[in-house]
């Protein structure tokens, strides 16, 4: 094996990897999980989706048009915001728009810092740099904001009496829920802080592994990984801040009382 290059996976080897599915299938059959059909379907989908996105990315990387890239990034934010909203229960109203604003603003801001100051590709909007980095930050940011928003609503919903008691003391809406908002913020930040703690000890992140397999020098891959994780933490923090800032007021009426849907348990 040539040290500077990367190991190719031939068609035959790809087919061999499918044989691993059989192991999963046998376990599923043995435990009567009834997962076999779903498993086959999921495998086919994963293969087709990845192949297609491979072509799409090749096309976009070759095209390298700034407008096409921005449209694609916005589309990614749109899909991510829908997915994030789906994970939020007990929201008094749709969170799609707020999640979209929070994700777009936080991810664009952080990615601008990365490509403007740290990685500085030429040209600055190089699709092959911007899109993968954007995708990684967006994915994590999406989980973070969904966690924090879901936590905020469930915390307030399970502490309606306390919140109303504080309102009776003349508390402003913010004062009445700030403790729960802090918990929500922490819930959103905890996964990324935990991964910062264990990275390199317990887990070798996919990006770093990929770059090493692709022949990049290990220390360079490590530096990339570190930058990305720090950026993810920043994006999650900014995203949560924007989203919670936009959402908490919507739990209240113009009369500084909790809206009826928050009061119902």
């Amino acid at each position: 094996m040539d040290n500077s290059g990367y190991v190719l996976i031939s068609n035959g080897q790809l087919l061999l990897s499918v044989s691993l599915i059989v192991i999963t299938g046998v376990i599923s059959a043995f435990l009567k999980l009834g997962l076999f059909k779903t498993l086959i379907w999921a495998t086919i989908r994963a293969f087709v989706q990845l192949t297609l996105i491979g072509y799409v990315l090749t096309f976009i990387f070759d095209l390298n048009n700034i407008f096409v890239i921005i449209i694609l990034l916005l589309l990614m934010c749109f899909i991510a915001s829908r997915e994030a909203s789906k994970r939020v229960n007990k929201a008094p109203q749709s969170t799609n728009l707020m999640a979209f604003i929070a994700l777009t603003a936080s991810t664009f801001l952080v990615v601008s810092v990365v490509i403007g100051l740290i990685i500085t590709p030429k040209p600055w909007y190089s699709a092959s740099v911007v899109i993968p980095i954007f995708g990684m930050i967006l994915g994590n940011s999406m989980s973070g904001i969904a966690l924090s928003l879901d936590r905020m609503y469930s915390e307030v919903n399970s502490h309606v009496e306390e919140v109303e008691q504080l309102l009776c003391f003349g508390a402003t809406p913010w004062e009445s829920v700030q403790e729960h908002v802090r918990d929500a913020f922490k819930a959103g930040m905890t996964p990324i802080i935990n991964s910062l703690m264990v990275v390199g000890l317990v887990s070798l992140p996919g990006m770093m592994t990929g770059q090493i397999l692709a022949g990049m020098e290990v220390h360079t891959a490590v530096r990339y990984q570190f930058v990305i994780m720090i950026m993810i933490a920043a994006a999650v923090a900014i995203g949560c801040l924007i989203l919670i800032g936009l959402s908490y007021k919507k739990m209240f009426t113009e009369d500084m009382a909790l809206v009826q849907s928050m009061r119902n348990n």
């Binding site: 009496e161 306390e162 109303e164 009776c168 003349g170 508390a171 009426t253 009369d255 009382a257």
Partner: protein, 222 residues
């Protein structure tokens, strides 16, 4: 007797069914307005509406001759202070609980925290030992929690107390102590109480009260 609070044609329709509240009433100063009626009639809801925690579908409410909409909601709630049936106790000591409102912006602007002498005096009047002040409030008995929640409201010097079954967690002797306490409290500068209670006995300790019977109401189906 001076009119303190009045509500005219207060109307509130409950979610997803035909039940509704439609009541009018007047609370005079130095008087208890007792809200009675079968459970589900909307007594507690009426108190929460008067505290502006629930928005009625329509209502004309006046406090000391002024429309309630002229008050900001948090200022209103300080003047017309609601105490829930289940006492709400926060983390921290009894003292922390009593002083908690003074950490909030509006209260810290308008009111001085009560001195220890005042707090201790009130504790004794409510039949509580001053030793509990540094105890974790969550470890209090139900009856102690209820009186701490009442005291916390009283320290804020509201004009009106809205009390939802204040004796629900109290035993016989403490029922008398607390009800007599309210009776004394009413005597000073234009105060009033609106109270939900099921206990006729509680009212023996109150000199001046009127009763408003809340009847369960339903819209005709179809």
């Amino acid at each position: 007797m001076k009119e303190l609070l009045s509500f005219q044609d207060l109307y509130y329709k409950f979610d997803n069914n035909q039940r509704f509240v439609k009541e009018s009433g007047i609370l005079f100063s130095s008087q208890v307005l007792v809200l009675q009626g079968p459970s589900g009639a909307g007594k507690s809801t009426l108190l929460k509406i008067l505290a502006r925690l629930i928005k009625p579908d329509s209502a004309t409410v006046f406090f000391q001759g002024k429309d309630w909409k002229t008050f900001s909601p948090n200022e209103w709630r300080l003047n017309i202070n609601y105490v829930a049936q289940q006492p709400i106790i926060f983390e921290g000591s009894v003292k922390d609980n009593l002083l908690l409102p003074y950490n909030l912006k509006l209260v810290s602007e308008k009111k001085q925290p009560p001195t220890m002498e005042i707090i201790e005096d009130y504790l004794e009047r409510l039949g509580l030992s001053t030793k509990i002040l540094n105890q974790s409030a969550k470890t209090l008995s139900g009856g102690e929690k209820a009186r701490i929640a009442i005291l916390r409201a009283v320290l804020l010097e509201p004009k009106i107390l809205l009390l939802d079954e204040p004796s629900a967690y109290l035993d016989g002797e403490n029922k008398e102590i607390v009800m007599s306490f309210f009776n004394d409290w009413l005597m000073q500068d234009k105060r009033g109480i609106a109270m939900v209670t099921h206990s006729q006995k509680d009212l023996n300790y109150i000199n001046n009260y009127t009763t408003l019977n809340i009847t369960p109401r339903r819209h005709e189906i179809g």
